[in-house]
């Protein structure tokens, strides 16, 4: 069942993204101000959406469910971990595509904008999360610590976001960002953009399905190893 639905999800994603690519590259017109650069509109916002909301959100919800005694299970830990891992990839892509977009439009690779800065710090948090997981061997301890860390990160992200906004506004006007101007998104452009959101979201869930399945198999193998280790331990005894 699971296998089948994951295969369906995979094909749906492939079709959606293929259509997005065709529409984004050939059917939609270039922008009056930004020219062909505007085509990043069909990648960057959707990737950022998946990175910041869908995948990180999934990780947070799963971590919360793990911490809640009634729904505590290692499956939740696996989902949280896998979603976080995917989020790291998408955040890296968000920063890279944003940077590529920012250079020609703002003139800089990096701006001290609240969104940018808090996204980058969230990225650091997620890398720290992966480091934290590596540092713990015991499955239960690792699951607990990871869940708590995820929760703390979720609390921190809005705090960081607002602190950077205020940091900016009190420091100097947001001069760089206003330079983007307001993009007039309508017609085929809007359709394509919405399509990219759906496409990347299904891509995330397809990744998540496959990744969690892989992780479950890895855990199952570990349990198998435990049985043989028990046997080894018994044989160590002389009597």
């Amino acid at each position: 069942m699971m296998r089948r639905s994951s295969r369906w999800l995979g094909w749906t994603t492939a079709v959606l993204l293929a259509v997005t690519v065709v529409m984004g590259l050939w059917i939609t017109p270039p922008d009056q101000v930004q020219g062909n650069l505007v085509r990043l509109l069909y990648i960057h916002p959707a990737i950022a959406w998946v990175a910041l909301y869908v995948s990180f959100g999934t990780a947070v919800v799963a971590a919360g469910l793990y911490l809640w005694p009634r729904t505590r299970s290692l499956e939740m830990d696996r989902v949280s971990y896998c979603a976080m891992e995917i989020s790291v990839v998408f955040i890296a892509l968000t920063l890279v595509t944003g940077s590529i977009w920012g250079r020609p439009t703002w003139g800089v690779w990096w701006a001290w904008d609240a969104r940018l800065t808090s996204t980058a710090i969230l990225g650091v948090f997620e890398v720290a999360y992966l480091a934290l997981r590596r540092a713990n061997d015991d499955v239960e301890v690792r699951a607990r610590r990871s869940a708590v860390f995820t929760l703390l990160t979720a609390i921190n992200v809005p705090i960081i976001h607002f602190s950077v906004i205020w940091w900016k506004t009190l420091h100097q006007g947001a001069s760089v960002l206003t330079a983007t101007g307001s993009l007039n998104v309508h017609g085929t452009m809007l359709t394509t953009m919405l399509l990219s959101f759906v496409g990347f979201t299904t891509l995330f869930f397809w990744f998540l399905f496959r990744r969690v399945a892989l992780e479950s198999r890895r855990d199952a193998r570990r349990t198998g190893e435990l049985d043989s280790a028990l046997e080894m331990r018994r044989r160590e005894g002389v009597g």
């Binding site: 708590v148 705090i159 205020w166 009190l170």
Partner: protein, 219 residues
């Protein structure tokens, strides 16, 4: 919970008082960092820079990190952990107690660093006095956050290198809030946003700590 918190805080402070690690290791390190910050600004700006509040908080941040590590190491020896575990202390109380002790220690260090900043970075004395409440609250948040993040890194591999990676992103908004409020105290400006950030963070950390510290301590 409160009783345990009090007991643990007194114990941590007494150990600090006995071992003098704060006095003879952390304080000189803190003051040296301030001098280095002054040197980093260059001879023209060392005594008259608007970067002084930021440098002050950067030093505070690293000092806080080393004190958090120190507070954590008190219980990290395997034998001590086992002995303390057999006392079955209320985890929420342990969290509050350790946070309280850490806060008081950081207050002491913060005061020394403020005086040091008046001396070395030439910030106005009256501004430093005005900044006291905001420095005190910011250090309180660093202590509660540090206590939780410290508990995340007990045992396991490479806790010494892991702690900064886990903690520094969480310290980022505190650095921002602290720097802005100190600037406001020195050069004038709005302050209330910083209070909102720091107080929200404090409430969040205390709530999370009380709720989940037990989950972290359990092995």
């Amino acid at each position: 919970m409160i009783r345990t918190a009090w007991l643990v805080a007194r114990k941590d402070l007494r150990i600090e008082f006995r071992s003098r690690v704060l006095l003879w290791q952390v304080t000189p390190f803190a003051l040296l960092s301030l001098v280095l910050a002054g040197l980093a600004l260059g001879p023209d700006k060392a005594g008259s820079s608007s970067s002084a509040p930021g440098l002050f908080y950067l030093v505070v941040l690293f000092v806080a990190l080393s004190v958090v590590q120190r507070s954590r190491s008190l219980e990290s020896a395997p034998g001590t952990r086992a002995s303390v575990a057999t006392l079955g202390l209320d985890p929420a109380g342990v969290f509050l107690g350790k946070s309280l002790a850490l806060t008081l220690e950081l207050w002491g260090l913060g005061l020394i660093l403020l005086i040091g900043s008046v001396l070395f970075l030439h910030i106005a004395l009256i501004g430093a006095v005005k900044a006291l409440p905001s420095v005190a609250v910011t250090l309180g948040v660093m202590s509660t956050a540090g206590t939780i993040y410290g508990a995340l890194t007990t045992g396991g591999e490479g806790p010494v290198t892991l702690l900064p990676l886990l903690t520094l992103p969480a310290f980022a908004p505190l650095l921002v809030a602290g720097e802005r409020s100190l600037s406001a105290a020195l050069y004038g400006g709005a302050l209330w946003e910083w209070w909102v950030i720091v107080v929200v963070a404090l409430v969040a950390y205390v709530a999370v700590g009380v709720a989940v510290y037990g989950v972290l301590e359990e092995s």
